[in-house]
Symmetry: C2
Subunit: 244 residues, 2 copies
DNA sequence: ATCGTTTGTTACAATCTATCACACATCATC
DNA sequence: GATGATGTGTGATAGATTGTAACAAACGAT
């Protein structure tokens, strides 16, 4: 499948990138099996650039090294649902379908490590630990997707936003320990992204954040992020699931 | 529990799912550690019985042989989100967490095949094909969860119900060929289940189904199921994602 | 057959969110 | 500095879904 010859599906994904990816795959194919994965190339994307688009041949799998990537799908009329924010360490493009089922767009300057999907799968065929690693990675994605499902399907606007902030808090707290003291959660995505992630409009997101600010639960630090003043109160507002 | 050793296959067990995990694992290797998987017991559950609950130790993985199982999570105040309907052939309880993150409840009389989770994982540690099958099974679950995410997050009530009916249609069409002629889709779950699956109330579900019936798009056959009169119109109403 | 429970349907008022509109701030460009 | 593009915040209104009923139908148990 020559994706370099295919007509561009998204104006945001220029042909240069597609060619580069193909070349990367070709050059790595000449090497040994383990070597292929070790010599995975690194690519950089600017804000709003696409790593891949829905419908593209799933030739590569990527691991985020730096930046945040939105995984989304669009409807005919322009409505967009973001199903995941991929953070450093996360893999994107995993799965068994021949084509990508979702699009991936960088929210900011992003660095990703590229793996040939076919090489990855072939290596996994002889390496149970790698195969199990893939299994675990997708299982985590599934858990995240279903947690979001519960939030969007059952929770109100303020509960969704609270849940979202706590999700980001837990995610960044695991990565950096600096925010465990100040509870500062960076918000690298725009309000529109949060809205399309939570199934809300940007107005509702904005109003809800304002409401949380007036309730002294959070502080908004000039667009770059928020600071959680009262984690317990935010957890109550999020109406997290019953504990067993 | 009396384990009937009858090897009868459910007619609803479609080709796609026959290829899955345990069937292949059991038919492939009859010696060694996979032997443990072969002696998996079969259990039966009545309607509304739980196969497992959220928070339970994840000791077993199950494959549905007959019946339909709801995978759900509940909030403190009783709100419930169904994240999946497991049909014959599907696996439930997969994942890497030590505890079940969701509950599983039989909607009707159900027969499941039980596998020891630890045995499954240990076998997968030495059997790449099994590990890859786990990977594929979870990948399919992820795709379904994200598709539902798009539906709930962006679609209106009538679009969600239309999407849901088409989902079931595709699922049952793969299993039985009898409905490819009449387009009859059985609805083994209650309205409340459909509502909790689509993030709607039962009243909205009922109203929407009535609306589709008045539009001559579907026919409701006495509670047991629906008959899709106009698949194309239903697809238009579902506002499925942009085609590529 | 009768009762009671469960499930499904419909009507109307209430509520939450979306839509529309505009102000404001920031940033890059001219 | 002026200009336009982009992102954000806020208010008023409209609209869709929900909540609360009441009711009908199906089912099981006595």
């Amino acid at each position: 499948m020559s994706n370099t010859l295919s007509v561009e599906r998204s104006p945001a994904l220029d042909r240069q990138h597609r060619q580069s990816l193909a070349v990367t795959a070709m050059s790595s194919d000449r090497r040994g099996k383990t070597d292929r994965l070790e010599r995975a190339s690194v690519r950089r994307f600017q804000s709003k650039e696409h790593i891949f688009c829905e419908g593209d041949a799933r030739t590569h799998v990527f691991q985020i090294e730096d930046g945040v990537v939105t995984i989304y799908q669009m409807l005919n009329d322009g409505r967009r649902q973001i199903v995941d924010f991929a953070y450093p360490g996360d893999f994107i493009g995993l799965g068994t379908a021949g084509e990508h089922l979702f699009s991936a767009e960088a929210t900011s300057s992003t660095r990703v490590r590229c793996f040939s999907a076919s090489a990855l799968e072939e290596t996994a065929r002889n390496d149970p630990s790698l195969a199990l690693q893939l299994y675990k990675a997708v299982s985590l994605e599934l858990s995240a997707a279903r947690a979001l499902l519960v939030a969007i399907g059952q929770r109100s606007a303020i509960e969704r936003v609270s849940t979202f902030l706590l999700m980001l808090h837990g995610r960044t707290a695991a990565a950096k320990d600096c925010d465990s003291v100040t509870n500062v959660v960076p918000l690298p995505m725009r309000r529109a992204d949060i809205g399309d992630f939570l199934g809300l409009t940007i107005e509702t997101v904005s109003r809800t954040i304002t409401k949380l600010r007036l309730m002294r639960v959070i502080e908004v630090s000039h667009g770059t992020g928020i600071r959680i003043m009262d984690v317990d109160r935010l957890a109550d507002l999020s109406e997290r699931q019953a504990c067993h």
